[in-house]
Subunit: 299 residues, 2 copies
């Protein structure tokens, strides 16, 4: 089924203890699409500057990713630079040059206005709302956000949340949004804001899926050598949403499996810089890690 | 089968955001025994002062816990005071009065010298070694330790590790002992020190069991309201070792289940102060949570 993502498209310069890359492919929409396209066609909505080279995205086109919704405008593409320490959770932003992303106005091509599934990656909640206003109500809408919007645009964020089925967030965002460090108590408050499903991303500790009356735990797939943690969260969401769109089911069983598919996808993302590893794998590689995770949690 | 534990026996004064207790039952050996005795008879080795009141331990005797190995000597019982913030991982020690524990010399009663299973709770590694020297080689020896011994008594600790089958530790202790933040890489180094099994305790993120060629992830059992986190780790070890001693099997399948039994036991420990909740439950309550965890991890 069709899956639409709106998010950032960027160049990233990243340094980690394992090496560095300059102006590599990045952005939430790109990581998401690289993972989701292993399962289902994806429509990408975003903006790039006149400096953007589309050729490296050819592998996405080959995977049925529609790039028609990427607007190219005069100016510089969103450019981010960061450095990671030994702890993948600690990263320092060296620079953020929003470029054309600062004035991003999502435009949805006519052929993309009836998506079955929508992922609103971490962008201004006003823009997230705008996207939802412009498309026919999807079967499932998922949302990602960050402290910046929780602190600075809470009202707009609450408006999107009211229209969101599945919310992705991490422990800190949970605490900021609900005042609760305990994710089970925090989730109770989040359910009242709109979402039926909460996905708590816990980095190397895995992820937790919560509905009003059920809980499911996904571990990570063990990675001995994290090369670059950038984009792991968006890849996770891409695996999750891509799997759901392929199955075209929104029952608990499918959601649980989707969480594991997300975890498996994320484990590949961190094994190389940028989307390099995601580019080289096929769906069967994800499936193998899903089976491995099954063995590592079954008792 | 018989299970021997050597560890601290203490009085704890604890304050948490949910309330406080004064001079409540505490100590690693007591938490451990409270959980393990739900599965198997336990022999406790420890020391208390002349101020210690044995009557509150009657419920342990009723559960086939042998307290004969607890030596009572003139002086004050180990007394610890601490305060927890909203985050159960952050605790401040207000005072530590070692009392008679400072001169603890483990004495093993003749009837306890052929244990099938041994848990060396977090005490001076020289004492841990002494205990192993005094008993017939058990089927499985498990060890807990802490930063204090890793930093101050590394050589003695390495000697115990060489005789240890299963090592319990948390992320920070892993890092301190191996230099690795990544638990999979760290475990590789730990296996070279002696242990065949590593159990990484991750608090609210669950636990990971590692052997040289296998990994198993246990989540927590969801607790909405943590009343007092004290003793969760020792209770976890108690559930783990108690289950193994009951099954009297040391294969991977049993170890995986033991990890879940440990997680279930620990979830009860934190639901009230001291060992109050562990006192009130029966084995069937643990089994119920084990089944619930199964549902929360199966896909």
């Amino acid at each position: 089924m069709s899956l639409l993502v709106v998010g950032s498209i960027a160049y990233d310069s990243v340094e980690t203890p394992k090496g560095k890359v300059e102006k590599a492919l990045g952005g939430s929409a790109i990581y998401f699409a690289a993972a989701a396209s292993l399962f289902t066609p994806v429509d990408v909505i975003g903006v790039v500057g006149s400096d953007y080279n589309f050729a490296p995205l050819d592998f996405l086109r080959a995977r049925r990713v529609n790039l028609e919704g990427i607007t190219q405008v005069p100016g510089e593409t969103f450019y981010w630079g960061g450095i990671y320490g030994e702890d993948p959770n600690e990263r320092e932003t060296l620079f953020t040059r929003l470029g054309v992303f600062a004035d991003f106005k999502p435009e949805i091509p006519p052929g993309c206005r009836k998506p079955d599934y929508v992922f609103l990656a971490n962008i201004d909640p006003d823009l997230q709302l705008e996207v939802l206003d412009k498309v026919k109500k999807p079967r499932l809408t998922a949302l990602d956000t960050m402290n910046f919007w929780i602190e600075g645009k809470l009202e707009a964020l609450m408006n999107v949340l009211a229209k969101t089925d599945a919310l992705f967030l991490n422990d800190q965002e949970m605490r900021l949004l609900t005042g609760n460090k305990n994710i089970f108590k925090g989730a109770e408050k989040l359910f009242k804001m709109g979402p039926k499903y909460i996905i708590v991303k816990k980095g190397e500790h895995g992820a937790v899926l919560l509905s009003k009356d059920q809980v499911f735990f996904a571990p990570i797939y063990p990675v001995w050598e994290v090369i670059d943690p950038t984009g792991a969260g968006d890849t996770f969401a891409g695996g999750f949403m891509g799997f759901i769109a392929r199955e075209n089911q929104i029952d608990w069983k499918t959601l649980k499996r989707a969480l594991i598919y997300g975890a498996a996808a994320a484990s590949f993302a961190v094994e190389d810089f940028s989307i390099d590893r995601l580019k080289s794998i096929r769906t069967v590689h994800i499936e193998k890690r899903v089976m491995a995770i099954k063995k590592m949690t079954e008792f």
